[in-house]
């Protein structure tokens, strides 16, 4: 570089003021709002998880997660979420396939999908109550089984107040969520693919095995993972159902909010962080899988 290149602009001409920062000001309301009601609360939790009760930095909250009670809570949550995710995944896929490709009358499909929109929001207190009324100790099905079939639900060991029971209740919003996401994906299978496959000599089963299912797999997998995260974070339903008798991560956190059951705020924050981590990982995997399948289908 020669010495004469020090001034690259003609004298007297200033570079135009950068307009980018100014335009970002338009986002200020949104950013402030998000900060106040989303980002800062989370940030405080994060910071709090690294603090002792006197405010000094520490990692002991995280090591405290090894406490057997907390480990049990995580373990229960994982189990419940896994069962309801896999159950919801398989069930939702079968339902979607039945209603989209099974040759059922069209109104059934519309009805089921609309209902799914409702059911996916029906979590929480009313859902828990509804299942108590169904297969609780005095539930309708329990009584029918006893009076009509002579089967005592209690004798089989099944109770709604268990991991399996909670998972069964969770299915009520897991299945619809899977259905709502997977049904359009199945519909997106173009008719020409099936015809091209037939043209190449494939039977219906071969078409599903070699083409339809592989194409759908990322979505199926991804949505199942989404379901896992969905169940992991659910608090209201579980709490209403079990009253806190079965430790689940969100329920323990809820109890912590109410009345410091862990005797250590920081531990509560660490648990919350653990939960966020789990869900964050799930979402990332979901997004990654969706991206991959979208890339294939782009043409």
């Amino acid at each position: 570089m020669t010495a004469g290149s020090a001034t690259s602009e003609a004298p007297g001409i200033r570079p135009a003021p950068r307009r980018v920062p100014l335009a970002w000001l338009g986002l200020l309301p949104f950013l402030l709002f998000s900060a106040g009601f989303l980002l800062l609360p989370i940030a405080f939790l994060v910071i709090g998880s690294f603090q002792t009760s006197t405010g000094e930095p520490t990692l002991e909250n995280y090591s405290g997660l090894g406490d057997p009670y907390i480990v049990a809570a995580f373990w229960n949550s994982v189990t419940v979420s896994l069962i309801s995710a896999v159950g919801g995944g398989i069930g939702g896929f079968l339902l979607a396939a039945a209603v989209v490709r099974g040759g059922l009358p069209r109104p059934l499909r519309t009805g089921l999908l609309t209902f799914s929109g409702v059911a996916s929001n029906f979590a929480g207190v009313p859902l828990a109550l509804a299942f108590v009324f169904t297969i609780g100790n005095n539930g309708l099905i329990t009584l029918i089984l006893k009076d009509v079939f002579g089967v005592s639900l209690k004798a089989t060991g099944f109770t709604i107040y268990s991991q399996l029971g909670i998972a069964l209740v969770y299915l009520y919003f897991q299945l619809p969520l899977m259905l709502l996401i997977v049904a359009p994906a199945i519909e997106g299978l173009r008719r020409e693919w099936r015809e091209a496959a037939e043209n190449m000599g494939a039977t219906g089963r071969q078409y599903w095995r070699h083409i339809a299912f592989p194409i759908l797999l990322p979505t199926l997998l991804g949505t199942t993972i989404l379901l896992f995260g969905n169940a992991f974070g659910a608090q209201a339903t579980a709490f209403q159902l079990t009253g806190g008798t079965i430790p689940l991560v969100p329920v323990v956190i809820g109890a912590q909010i109410r009345g410091d059951v862990l005797r250590n705020q920081g531990l509560g924050y660490a648990m919350a962080m653990g939960m966020v981590l789990v869900m964050g990982v799930m979402i990332l995997v979901y997004v990654w899988l969706r991206r991959r399948s979208e890339r294939w289908l782009r043409s």
Partner: protein, 283 residues
């Protein structure tokens, strides 16, 4: 291409038996709990004093619930909070989405990430953080009813982010934003006018859908409301469920009916929207 109506030989007229089986199983799973709840809600009738058998179904439980001032209070409070949430959400997100599309496309990933965060932050964690910030001084909002409701609205708006923003963004993607704005500006409109008269009307369908979805979410929400001690519908139902026998069933059915009505409205809006003419000028 010739008519797309096909009748491939392999499809039987009435659908495969497997499909019917799966469908019926699915429907049973969804419907039976509702039936059980309805049945329970009708049990608040008179027992035969001798046999203890229920004599006849009655709507007594519904009567009790509907007459309960706490029910009406809770419902109205939830409704009020929902309306405020929707208004704030719209006022916040529509201009933001518009701004991002028009002026700061590079901010898009950031904004989208923020609007998707509620998926990663479950309500119980969010309320944990909110209490952490707003309970102790200096920001002791949660000490007053007004402050608590304000924080509640804030939380609900955040909860509505994924749905509202997505609805608005999709709606915006169907209209030619830049051209409409420039046309309006060339005719003398300032920013607020552009938003109000040009953008909002074209988004009506998307906004209404988002609004009803938010309504359904807020009406049914329990976690945040209860931890903040607000007297909305969710906590009321929970209280009912802990104290009474038959009224909770009635309450659940009412809650379900409300959600149904909101979803139904969305479907109707969706149908009406499809019939609307496309924005003029699209070739």
């Amino acid at each position: 291409m010739t008519a797309a109506v096909t009748a491939p030989r392999r499809r039987r007229r009435w659908g495969s038996p497997w499909a019917w089986l799966i469908f019926l199983l699915g429907v049973s799973y969804f419907v039976i709990p509702l039936i059980a709840t309805i049945e329970f809600s009708l049990r608040a009738a008179y027992k035969d004093p001798v046999t203890g058998e229920f004599i006849r179904p009655s709507l007594a439980a519904y009567e009790l619930v509907l007459k309960d001032p706490k029910f009406v209070g809770g419902l109205l409070t939830s409704f009020r909070i929902a309306l405020i949430t929707i208004a704030v959400s719209l006022l916040l997100l529509v201009p933001t989405a518009y701004w991002v599309r028009l002026k700061v496309p590079r901010a898009r990933p950031v904004v989208e990430l923020i609007t998707l965060m509620p998926f990663v932050i479950p309500p119980v964690v969010l309320v944990f953080g909110l209490i952490r910030i707003y309970a102790p001084p200096p920001l002791a909002f949660l000490n007053s009813t007004f402050g608590t409701e304000a924080v509640l609205v804030g939380a609900y708006v955040v909860l509505s982010f994924p749905y509202m923003y997505r609805a608005v963004d999709t709606g915006l993607s169907t209209i030619d934003l830049r051209t409409l704005t420039e046309a309006a500006q060339s005719l003398g409109a300032g920013w607020p006018r552009v938003l109000w008269s040009v953008i909002f009307p074209n988004l009506r369908g998307a906004l209404l859908s988002g609004a009803f979805l938010t309504l359904a979410i807020v009406m049914g929400e329990y976690t945040i409301a209860s931890f903040m001690g607000t007297k909305t519908f969710g906590p009321y139902l929970s209280l009912l469920g802990q104290n009474k026998a038959y009224e909770p069933a009635a309450g659940s059915i009412i809650s379900f009916a409300i959600t149904w009505a909101a979803m139904f409205a969305i479907v109707i809006i969706g149908r009406a929207n499809r019939g609307r003419t496309q924005p003029a000028g699209a070739p």
